[in-house]
Symmetry: C2
Subunit: 90 residues, 2 copies
DNA sequence: TTGACCCATCAGCCGCTGCTGACATATCCT
DNA sequence: AGGATATGTCAGCAGCGGCTGATGGGTCAA
């Protein structure tokens, strides 16, 4: 229950919500989020750090271009978050 | 999508989350929420006003004791909120 | 190696939000 | 009518959280 509240507080931000929605169709780098959101890289990086601390996303370096930090969703954690929110509204 | 963010922001508060969870098993009055949360009536009333403005709950007067304002969930709206959050994490 | 690029971290500021205290309103009881 | 109970509303305050600017690290190309 407290977990569901924390997840809801994370999603209750448009930037983080769109980040999670963008990650539905595969990994993206920080700069892509920044251009899509109209925000700066450090701001996006802060949001991603929150999501990463919550275990919802992982970060890996791109194999071709090592300067790019690619983020992908932890599908198991996202699915657990979905069920937690769903049971909260049961 | 913006709707899901608004709902998530509402649920991202422990008081409102527990209120919605308590409303799963039937209507309750403001004083019951206040004692369960350890909060004051005006504070709970403020949270209920938010939930009411979002269309998630309705308020009706008790037929026996008209001083009591009973709150119940709008099941259709709650179900819509559940699906909105679920599709956001799809 | 030097520079450019991409990202992370930190301190600081500012706006939003929840809580509180005071007051108003509505209903019931005597 | 008058008091008690239950709830709503409002201004004010304190704390949290997001955005920014600056700085540093890590990677690649020339």
């Amino acid at each position: 229950m407290s977990r569901a509240v924390d997840v809801a507080r994370l999603i209750g931000d448009r930037s983080r919500a769109t980040i999670l929605a963008m990650l539905a169709d595969g990994p993206h780098c920080v700069c892509e989020f920044a251009t899509a959101l109209g925000a700066r890289e450090n701001n996006v990086s802060n949001h991603l750090a929150r999501l990463r601390q919550a275990g919802l996303v992982r970060s890996t370096r791109h194999e071709a271009n090592g300067r790019l930090q690619y983020y992908e969703r932890d599908e198991a954690a996202v699915e657990a978050a979905r069920t937690a929110l769903s049971t909260l509204l049961r």
